[in-house]
Symmetry: C2
Subunit: 414 residues, 2 copies
């Protein structure tokens, strides 16, 4: 199921992940599907931890997504339980019961209300999740929870991922410094209209749930919602943010309004974390050998630029061409044309890897196949389209479509 090779686009090193006061993590091997690896992550939070979330827009969401949606209004989180190997999606009433049972176990082990437990599951859809497996590990998870296990946490939630995804940043808040840590998983079934596959962000900043939700919702637009691997949207996409508020004890001001100017650095750092994790997801796209940055300029608006960029980023023909190191800009024209957005062929210019290959509706007069072919051998390929119509600009990330993607997904369940 999971590929044995690490993506060539993986980061060369992992950042040192600092502890965040009020957050403790642990992992266990509950044997839900995988053998010889961890498959459960538990996070335990101090009382008073605020929570915010963004979820898949799928009309057929998983049981854990429905559980989180029902409880996010409580604004308070004490525990997070995540499993890999089984998505608990399309599992009907037994799925809802499995979610409820898991939350009950965690609430008992951490002495909180069930509604303060948040859940996420990732893996195969449609197989009943045997939540009994959690019963044997729950108390141990709570007992062993430690502040510095982010990399292990990221490993426990991997499915077809080839590397764990972590990111960390600090931000000035008043005269104090706060920390933001994030982890994510995702490699296939990645498309916009979602949060991501699964991502969890933790901070000690003293921000209430409403403010955290605002920052989260804003930050998602150009990060997790601006990546695509295969245009397929999961039933399980979940992005949760937890703010313990423990930095207040070190003098960080309590922020009550999203418009507070003191939040600026925090907002920026938060967005950077999401952008970093989202790029890592694109870099771990199933079978990916190249990271593709699609930039659209000169569209009539940013939403129009986004739709054109996504049309390019989701085109199997563009993605297979780039896999073949072929600067087939005709397919980019095709993808612009099919997006249905305003576009004037005779004003269109296209660049691959910074080299202009098409200009004003025809092949660039200075087109040099050898030079372009050389540029296509890079690991990161930028495809830029200038429409010449307006000031709308957008950027999305994707990866190439290789034979390995087909191989990985042709035999996922077995």
């Amino acid at each position: 199921m999971s590929s044995s090779k690490i993506s060539p686009l993986a980061p060369k090193t992992f950042p040192e992940m600092p502890a965040i006061d009020g957050v403790r993590l642990s992992t266990a091997a509950a044997g839900i599907k995988y053998k010889d690896r961890t498959d459960v992550l538990m996070a335990v939070f101090e009382p008073g931890t605020a929570v915010a979330g963004v979820f898949t827009r799928s009309k057929c969401p998983s049981a854990p997504v429905e559980w989180c949606r029902a409880n996010i209004g409580g604004k308070s989180a004490r525990a997070l339980v995540v499993n890999s190997g089984n998505a608990n999606a399309f599992t009907g009433r037994t799925g809802r019961e499995a979610a409820k049972f898991t939350a009950a176990l965690a609430s008992k082990a951490t002495a909180c209300k069930p509604g303060e437990v948040f859940l996420a599951s990732t893996g195969v859809i449609g197989e009943p999740l045997k939540a009994d497996a959690f019963a044997g590990v729950m108390d141990g998870l709570v007992a062993r929870a430690v502040p510095d296990a982010y990399l292990e946490a990221a490993r426990a939630i991997m499915t077809t991922d080839t590397f764990p995804k972590v990111a960390t940043a600090t931000a000035r808040l008043g005269k104090s410094t706060v920390t933001i840590n994030g982890i994510a998983k995702g490699a296939g079934m990645i498309a916009p209209d979602m949060a991501t596959m699964l991502s969890f962000v933790f901070t000690d900043a003293p921000v209430p749930a409403a403010v955290l939700q605002k920052v989260l919702t804003e930050s998602v637009v150009d990060t997790f919602n601006a990546i695509t691997v295969d245009s397929d949207t999961s039933t399980s996409d979940t992005l949760l943010a937890f703010a313990t508020g423990t930095a207040a004890a070190r003098g960080a001001p309590k922020i009550t309004k999203a418009g507070d100017p003191r939040l600026k650095d925090f907002r920026n750092a938060f967005a950077r974390i999401l952008a970093d994790l989202a790029e890592q997801v694109a870099r771990d796209g199933e079978g990916a050998r190249k990271l593709i940055e699609v930039i659209v300029e000169g569209a009539v608006s940013k939403p129009s630029a986004r739709r054109i960029a996504m049309s390019i980023a989701n085109s199997p023909l563009v993605k297979t061409a780039i896999a073949g190191e072929d600067a087939n800009w005709g397919r980019v024209v095709m993808a612009v044309g099919k997006a249905g957005e305003p576009a004037d062929r005779d004003r269109l210019s296209i660049w691959f890897g910074g080299i202009r290959v098409a200009h004003k509706g025809a092949r660039d007069p200075g087109y040099d196949e050898a030079k372009v072919s050389a540029a296509m051998q890079a690991q990161v390929i930028s495809v830029k389209v200038a429409l010449g119509l307006g000031r709308g600009r957008d950027r999305v990330l994707t990866c190439d479509l290789t034979q390995d993607y087909v191989a990985i997904n042709g035999d996922y369940r077995s």
Copy 2:
């Protein structure tokens, strides 16, 4: 470029294609791109031949598409010139001049107005088309045109197609019999919002352009617009129908209104031809080993059923699973969920190859993996989804996504 292997889904035999009075065909090897094969098709029509057309909805259409759109209002056709190997798309002013030059050559050779010449090109986008190549072959094409060269015609317009696509039918019109012949090409860059890649239909029925257009537009909805190979829409999709009216000499009534009840059998036969050709295109999907029929029932409307069916048919994860003979119905749930159409997980049922695998939002109680796996080995796989919401039904055809698709498209230009 073109695959040497014939699709395992190809028809075992070709139908005998009868002559149609007033239509003569010929082919030539103009050396536009390929060596040792024909790459130009010419059709010459009797005076009085009516023409109708449907074209790509791409915002960046090819020069021949623009040429046809500009001239279809004339309602009269005397010649059709089609080339393979170069799409004459995104070729700017030189592309428009190449189209004009080709039409001028054909109008001179057939003694008609340039506006009575229709054009289509298929192949690489963005490379200038050297229309000079037509000059050397045009007179010969006209001189050698014969009434019974449909299979050769279908061969001359192939690109990555692995087999020529032809279909024929007769229909009762009044007390007479009329004939409809069709040819098509297309294997990749096939998606809805288009006519098809290229398809040409010929009939001797005495129907004026307006009636022919009506029949064509209606017939496209559930045929060429209900197939997808890779969700990519070409800049060049062209479907042209030509009616010589020569059956009138044998007593067929001249039809002047699309609502004429005598047209019923003709309409049905016409739709059958398009359905046949469209299915052949799906069967020749690049790298395809399985034909997939997606049926959606119980949606709130037919358009809603269509969008859900297309979401399933375009899902790389559904298509790779079927390539791997894996009845991964969880991915079908995912594709239903991402379509954005009304769907209630707890009413959803899913069948693979006639076997119900999921029922009312969970795995079917009688699910038998061995039985389903055996069914997945068939060459034609039906995926049926019942939503249980309304009476909307639709059916689309696609093919699986294999490593060969990636291989074919990773190196198309070289």
